[in-house]
């Protein structure tokens, strides 16, 4: 098992009358365990052209009903560039240049009519997207020509 931590810090000196400061850290553990860390990771970077909604992280039976965590960051620099991140054909929200998200992900392979792949569509121009998927238990496909 591996030890992976995700730390979140949010701060603002002026969105409220008093300063706002929030910080929390979590360990990325496997489902149904007290303290067994996830031991697989996928790191990736893509240039996403406009005009098509892509499967950024395809659903997989190996990722179903387990603890997985997704980090996505829009590394574009033009503030008007953004991507829409969707799941089950439902937009979660827009990641503008410099924005990131971190969320759990549970492949729901029973989702009617849609799928639980994490989708990404770019707007304004080609967006640069980096993502990390922390997961467990994925079995690679047997090569078709073996």
């Amino acid at each position: 098992m591996a030890t992976t931590t995700a730390t979140f810090t949010l701060s603002s000196a002026d969105i409220l009358t008093d300063a706002l400061s929030l910080s929390t850290t979590m360990n990325l553990y496997q489902d149904g365990t007290t303290a067994t860390g996830l031991d697989e990771v996928t790191l990736s970077r893509h240039n996403i052209p406009t005009g098509t909604n892509f499967d950024l992280i395809p659903e997989s039976a190996a990722l179903s009903e387990d603890a997985s965590y997704v980090y996505i960051c829009n590394k574009s620099t033009d503030v008007t560039y953004y991507v829409i991140i969707s799941i089950n054909d439902e937009p979660i929200g827009r990641l503008y240049a410099g924005d990131w998200l971190f969320m759990p992900w549970d492949c729901d392979l029973t989702a009617a009519a849609n799928d639980s792949s994490i989708e990404c569509q770019a707007y304004t121009g080609e967006n640069i997207i980096e993502y990390a998927l922390f997961h467990n238990g994925e079995t690679l496909l047997t090569a078709a020509d073996s």
Partner: protein, 141 residues
């Protein structure tokens, strides 16, 4: 305008042969601009003991954030399950319009953009009736 920053650090010394450390800071801005988000719900806390599907962020309300969180605007949502992890079998499913996003186990947090819009509620369903506390906040324009 306000200046609000959100920083994530993902770190592991042993999930790969070389250690990984991913860190990014985002300044929360209005859609397509450098102008900071100026509105927030503040950090809220809700405790429940039910495994029924429940609306956490209700976009059907006629006041509050409903009219300000729309697909062409910028909004960010933070949610944390503040319970202890326990045996790792208890969690809260976070859903968007009844479509599952993922599970927050005790101690887990998430930070996502939110398109909002009519009926685009953020909901949760606990794995059982154990008393659970969620903290959450919305930042929006």
């Amino acid at each position: 305008m306000a200046t609000t920053t959100a920083t994530i650090t993902l770190a592991s010394a042993d999930i790969m042969d070389n250690s990984i450390s991913i860190s990014n800071t985002s300044t929360l801005t209005t859609a397509g601009t450098d102008t900071g988000l100026a509105k927030t719900t503040g950090v809220a806390r809700r405790t429940f003991a039910s495994n029924s599907n429940t609306i956490l962020l209700d976009h059907g309300l006629t006041s509050g954030i409903a009219e300000d969180v729309t697909a062409d605007k910028s909004a960010k949502v933070y949610i944390k399950n503040t319970n202890d992890r326990g045996d790792g079998t208890k969690y809260v499913n976070i859903l968007l319009v009844a479509r599952e996003i993922g599970r927050l186990y005790g101690g887990d947090w998430m930070f996502i953009p939110w398109s909002g819009g009519s009926g685009k509620d953020i909901e949760f369903t606990a794995s059982d009736t154990t008393e659970t506390t969620l903290e959450y906040a919305v930042f929006y324009e």
